[in-house]
C-alpha cells in the first residue's frame, strides 16, 4: 500500500521533469555558519522550486577566499550548470572566471555584493545608501549632536567598505556628531557583545549606536546591564525587529534598515529570465528601506514583519519585489526542487 503510494507520488513528480525542468542552477557561497548566507541559499532553492523550470541546484558552499571561490566556480562550470548565482568574495578577483563562464554561455548573477565584471548580471542592496539611511535617522534622533559608536562588519570586505563610505558621507553633514568608538564586529555575535560590554564598562558617554547588522546583541547587552537604552540602528533581523516593536514602551528608540538575504532568490529569478531570452539590466540596485519605531508607519512595518517562530538573526525581508515568487513557507523550510 505504502509502496504503491510512493510509486504514484514519484511518477507524478517525475513526469513533468523531463519536459520543462531544463535548467541546472549553480550556487557559490564562501561564508558558512552565517544566518544571512544560509537564508540566501534557501531563497535560491525556494525560487528554483517556484520557477518550475529548474531540475537541480548544485551548491558550492564553504568558507574560503577568492582563490577558493574561483576553483568552486570552475567546478560549477564543469558540473554543467546553466546559471550561476554567487555571492562574490571579492570585487574584481572573480572577473576572469566569470568571463570563462559567460564565454561558455552560462548566465552569471552576482548577489549581495558587486563585481567589476561587465559580463555578469548584478543584483544587490545599495550598501552606501544602507548606511546613509540609518546614520541619518540616528543623527536626527539625537538632535544633530552627541557621541555615537560605529560598529562595522569585516575589515577589508567590499560591503563593509561601502557602508563605511556612506556612514562617513552622512557624518560630514552633522558637524556636532562625534564618533567616539569604531569597532569591527566581523558580523559575529561574540565580538559585538564583548565590545558593548567594554564600552558600557568604560564609562564612555554614548548617545547612540550604529551597527552594521549585529543589532539585537547590542540591545541585549543594555538589557543585561540594566542601563537606559540609547537609540540603536540595525538591520532587518528578526530579534531586533521584535525588540524595536516590543521594547519601545521601555524607552528603546531604534530603526532597522533592510538588507534582504533573499537577494539570492531574486538573483536566480533574474538569471532565469535571461536564460529564457528576456532582456534584463546588468545592474539592479535594490533600494533599502528604513523602519523606525518612532513613526507610526515604521512601527506597523516592524510589527508586521516580526515572526516569533524564527531565529534571532533571520532576515525578515522574505521577498524581493518584483523578482521572487516563492512562498514564505518554502523559504523557511529551505525547500529544494
Amino acid at each position: 500500500m505504502t509502496a504503491g503510494l510512493l510509486a504514484v507520488a514519484c511518477g507524478g513528480s517525475a513526469a513533468p521533469a523531463t519536459g520543462t525542468k531544463k535548467y541546472v542552477v549553480g550556487v557559490s557561497n564562501t561564508l558558512t555558519g552565517n544566518g544571512f548566507r544560509e537564508e540566501m541559499i534557501c531563497s535560491i532553492k525556494a525560487q528554483a522550486k517556484a520557477s518550475g523550470i529548474v531540475s537541480k541546484v548544485v551548491v558550492a558552499n564553504r568558507t574560503t577566499d577568492p582563490s577558493g571561490q574561483i576553483a568552486d566556480v570552475r567546478n560549477l562550470i564543469s558540473a554543467g550548470v546553466n546559471v550561476i548565482v554567487m555571492n562574490p568574495s571579492d570585487r574584481s578577483a572573480l572577473d576572469a572566471v566569470i568571463k570563462q563562464a559567460t564565454d561558455k554561455g552560462i548566465v552569471v548573477v552576482t548577489v549581495d555584493q558587486g563585481v567589476t565584471s561587465t559580463t555578469a548580471y548584478q543584483l544587490y542592496n545599495n550598501q552606501v545608501k544602507y548606511a546613509q539611511l540609518g546614520a541619518d535617522w540616528l543623527f536626527k534622533q539625537l538632535g544633530s549632536k552627541g557621541n555615537v559608536v560605529e560598529m562595522r562588519g569585516i575589515n577589508g570586505v567590499s560591503a563593509d567598505a561601502d557602508r563605511h563610505q556612506g556612514f562617513l558621507a552622512t557624518l560630514a553633514k552633522y558637524p556636532n556628531i562625534k564618533v567616539v568608538k569604531e569597532t569591527f564586529t566581523n558580523w559575529s555575535l561574540d565580538p559585538a557583545a564583548q565590545q558593548i560590554k567594554d564600552i558600557l564598562g568604560s564609562g564612555l558617554k554614548v548617545d547612540g549606536i550604529w551597527t552594521s547588522g549585529i543589532d539585537s546583541t547590542v540591545v541585549d547587552q543594555y538589557v543585561t546591564a540594566k542601563k537606559p537604552f540609547v537609540p540603536v540602528v540595525g538591520a532587518d533581523n528578526n530579534a531586533f525587529i521584535g525588540q524595536l516593536a516590543n521594547l519601545k514602551s521601555q524607552g528603546l528608540a531604534g530603526a532597522a534598515v533592510t538588507n534582504p538575504a533573499t537577494v539570492g532568490g531574486a538573483g536566480l529569478a533574474l538569471g532565469l529570465d535571461v536564460l529564457q531570452g528576456k532582456t534584463e539590466p546588468h545592474l539592479v540596485n535594490l533600494d533599502p528601506i528604513i523602519w523606525d519605531n518612532q513613526s507610526s508607519t515604521g512601527l506597523t512595518e516592524l510589527q508586521n514583519h516580526y515572526d516569533t517562530k524564527l531565529d534571532a538573526y533571520y532576515g525578515v525581508s522574505f521577498q524581493v519585489a518584483p523578482w521572487t515568487t516563492y512562498t514564505k513557507a518554502d523559504l523557511i523550510a529551505c525547500a529544494d526542487v
Binding site: V59, R62, P66, S92, A93, A96
Partner: protein, 344 residues
C-alpha cells in the same frame, strides 16, 4: 609460517623492501590521489584540460604553503605565520605590479621572494635568541603580518599583468599540462634537490629528529633552524605570488586559511609533526587531493556541509593508517630475523 617470511621479504630483496617501507606513506598518498582521480573521472566523464587547469590553479597556493610548512616541520619546528606571510607577499606584489609590464612584475616577484625569506629567517632568529617556543613566536608573528597586510592594502585591490597570471593558468606545451605544475615542480626542485644532496639537508633532518644528538655530532643547530624557517618564508612568499596568479588581485585576508590547510596537507602527505621524517612530494600530492575533494563534492551534489566532515575523516583515517606502518615494522623482526637486521 613461510607465507609470513615471504611477506617480510619483498621480491626485490632487502634493499627494495627498505625503500618501499620508507616511502610507504608517500606511495599511499599517491594511491589516494589516483583513487580520488578515478572517482572524479567516473562522476565526470568529460574530464578535460579545463578541469586539469582548475585543479592545478586551485592547488598551487596550497601546495606552496604545504612545502613551506614541510621545510619548517622537518627541522623540528612549526610556523603558524605562513598564511599571514602569504597574505603580505600577495598584497605587496599586487600593489606594486598594478599597471606594470611582465618584466617589472618578475622583478617585483624576486623582491617579494627575498622579503619572504627575510621574514621567515626573522621567525627563526626570534625563537632562537629569546628561547620562546616557535609556536608562540610564529603565532604572534601571524598577527603582525596579518596587520601589515591590512596596512598595505586595507581592502582587496591592486593587480598584476595578465601574463603573470598565465604563469599558472597558461600552457606552454599542451593544455593538459598547465604552466602552474611546471612552475611548482621547477621551484621545488630548485630548492629541494640541492638540499637533499648536501650536508645542509642532512643537518635539517638531523635537528628535526633529535636536536641534542645532532648538536653532539657537530651540527650547527641554530643556523640550520634559521635556514629552515627562511626556506619556509621563501616558499610562503611563492604561495602568496601563486594566489596572485590565480586571482589577479591582492587580498589582505586571502592567506589566512592556508596556515591550517597547509598543516593538513603535510600530515596527509606523511610528514611527521614531531620533525625529521617525511619528504616534499607527499605534501604536494596531498595538496592536490585536498583540492580535488571539494570539487568532487560539488560535482556529485553532496551536501557541502558534509565536505568538512569528509576532509577531516580522510585526514584521521590516513594518519591512523600511517601510524600502523611503524607498528608493523617494529613487530617484523620477531617473525623474520634477516630483514629485521637489514632494516635496523
Amino acid at each position: 609460517m613461510s607465507a609470513a617470511a615471504t611477506a617480510g621479504r619483498p621480491p626485490g630483496g632487502p634493499r627494495f623492501g627498505r625503500l618501499l617501507r620508507r616511502n610507504a606513506w608517500t606511495l599511499g598518498t599517491y594511491a589516494l590521489f589516483v583513487a580520488v582521480m578515478i572517482f572524479t573521472i567516473s562522476i565526470h566523464p568529460d574530464y578535460g584540460p579545463f578541469e586539469v587547469q582548475s585543479l592545478v590553479v586551485g592547488a598551487l597556493p596550497l601546495a606552496f604553503a604545504a612545502v613551506a610548512q614541510t621545510c619548517v616541520v622537518l627541522g623540528g619546528g612549526i610556523d603558524l605565520s605562513i598564511g599571514a606571510m602569504m597574505a603580505v607577499a600577495n598584497v605587496l606584489a599586487a600593489r606594486y605590479m598594478l599597471g606594470h609590464d611582465f618584466q617589472t612584475a618578475l622583478l617585483i616577484s624576486v623582491a617579494v621572494l627575498f622579503g619572504g625569506t627575510l621574514a621567515g629567517a626573522l621567525n627563526g632568529l626570534i625563537a632562537l635568541r629569546t628561547k620562546v617556543p616557535d609556536i608562540v613566536v610564529t603565532l604572534a608573528m601571524s598577527f603582525v603580518w596579518g596587520g601589515v597586510a591590512l596596512l598595505i592594502l586595507p581592502k582587496p585591490g591592486g593587480g598584476a599583468p595578465d601574463k603573470f597570471g598565465e604563469l599558472a593558468s597558461g600552457s606552454l606545451f599542451t593544455p593538459w599540462i598547465p604552466n602552474g605544475i611546471l612552475l611548482l615542480v621547477g621551484v621545488v626542485a630548485l630548492v629541494w634537490i640541492p638540499l637533499r644532496f648536501r650536508g645542509l639537508g642532512l643537518a635539517l633532518y638531523a635537528i628535526g629528529s633529535d636536536r641534542t644528538a645532532a648538536f653532539r655530532r657537530g651540527v650547527r643547530v641554530g643556523p640550520t633552524r634559521v635556514f629552515s624557517d627562511a626556506l619556509g618564508g621563501f616558499l610562503a612568499a611563492c604561495g602568496g605570488l601563486a594566489l596572485l596568479m590565480s586571482t589577479g588581485i591582492g587580498s589582505p585576508l586571502a592567506g589566512t586559511i592556508y596556515t591550517l590547510s597547509g598543516v593538513s596537507a603535510i600530515v596527509l602527505g606523511g610528514v611527521s609533526l614531531a620533525g625529521g621524517r617525511g619528504g616534499v612530494t607527499g605534501p604536494i600530492v596531498a595538496a592536490f587531493v585536498l583540492t580535488l575533494v571539494p570539487a568532487d563534492l560539488i560535482l556529485s551534489g553532496t551536501d557541502p556541509n558534509l565536505g568538512q566532515v569528509i576532509q577531516g575523516v580522510l585526514i584521521v583515517l590516513v594518519v591512523m593508517a600511517g601510524g600502523l606502518a611503524p607498528l608493523l615494522r617494529r613487530r617484523a623482526p620477531r617473525t623474520t630475523d634477516e630483514t629485521g637486521v637489514a632494516a635496523a
